[in-house]
Symmetry: C2
Subunit: 259 residues, 2 copies
Amino acid sequence: MERVNTVKSVGRALEIIEIVSAKKNGLGVTEIAKQIDINKSSVHRILATLVQYGYVVQDGETGKYRLGYKFLEYSSRLLDSIDLRAEARPFLQELEKETNEVIHLVIHDHGEVVYIEKLEGNETLRMHSKVGRRAPMHCTSVGKAILAFLPENIVFEILARKGLPQHTEKTITKEDVLLQELEEIGRKGYALDLEENEKGITCIAVPILDHSGRAVAAVSVSGPSTRMSDGTMQELQGEMKQIGRELSARLGYSARMRG
Amino acid sequence: MERVNTVKSVGRALEIIEIVSAKKNGLGVTEIAKQIDINKSSVHRILATLVQYGYVVQDGETGKYRLGYKFLEYSSRLLDSIDLRAEARPFLQELEKETNEVIHLVIHDHGEVVYIEKLEGNETLRMHSKVGRRAPMHCTSVGKAILAFLPENIVFEILARKGLPQHTEKTITKEDVLLQELEEIGRKGYALDLEENEKGITCIAVPILDHSGRAVAAVSVSGPSTRMSDGTMQELQGEMKQIGRELSARLGYSARMRG
DNA sequence: TCCTTTGTTTGCTATTACGGAACACCGTTT
DNA sequence: AAACGGTGTTCCGTAATAGCAAACAAAGGA
């Protein structure tokens, strides 16, 4: 963790937010101070600032500190600014109607994927809390679809930083194997996840490219491996690639994708 | 703005976040520095810290700073922790089914209401970006329903701090009139918004009380005034009060509400 | 081409944030 | 009841550090 030209107390504040966000029911000054090994009074002062701005609230009963609703506000603004969501929505809905499986829209952020939309059969209502969740790239269809359309040096940087932790017995944990897979994905134009992230779950994904041809997002269909047969995938991949091209075009990328 | 025992740089950082969040397409160091009248280099150093933690990202093309997806993550955790949402969901769904109107679930936060759920006919998918939005209390049904079940001194504090800005010609802008209305709401157990916030829109709301009988949230039905007739309201209010009681009970409030 | 306007870095100084300790305030225990 | 361990909060001297001004770099525009 390099700390060149940064503000120490701001960093501490953000670490405190991280800690506070992790405990649903809040926690106290002393507990926080222990976790990051700085003085109680410093924690208290930073918390006071965060409270003043609504980032953190102090529970009236227990006195514990919890995350404030301010984050919902910013999150809302953020989602608004991602017009990709609005653009993608009709395509996702059609995909869901056809497949009756779970549809995801993710964005690449700092070597992970962030879910910004999830359509799940009749349970569309339950999805909110999933939006914002993160997942690794090396063992998800969306992650691999994006990696395959990123410059090599960025891919190496991500893999070096994040490693290839094993999630299931099928997770690709060797870098050379993954690179070969990415090369294939690049040729085919879509990525598969054959139970590499979660046992029994198979996914197919296509990347969404920005104006320079770099992947910034991806769309996927996920389902139980029993339903996601080779045949199903073959039917799906054509349509999904079409959707990927369409959405890429709306981000300004008009060049022709291979495959 | 009192600043006793707070950390200046942290406050500045949060102000910078506020500014950055307001511009969809991001903005530059100089622009930010101008807005809060501090030195460029200070802004730069704080931004560097925020970038390091993922709160802010720098656009690769333009170099402008935009809000990072970190906020989605925290927002997600926050929504998870609000079990009120989960508890309320089935009730809201039934309300929506019956009325075919827009259903809102809000939480009180610092003298405003924050939307944490929105059900909107067939367009349930479009709601995400609305979650986290804020609205004033004095001119919304949900806001008034909550105010009516808060201690007087808190009500006065909120009104003093926020004022009663006029949104439509029907907005209540006189404090004594509003207090009288709140008293009536307290007796009846539900609140109406007769085009006080938005022209042509009528709403009805009931509060949700915590274990001590103080309002912390509210549920509402909104629709065009043409459809939200007196008769409709009369039919609705009984069921909505029942929902309010039910949800209050789950938060630990078991005392009998008046009305 | 030069000039303006960015973003970034540097060095100095005074600000200010930090940590230790004291304080106040519980709830328990003895 | 009084002493205790556990909170959260406040105070104060000091040293670290965040802020400022100015210089630098880089990128457009005229």
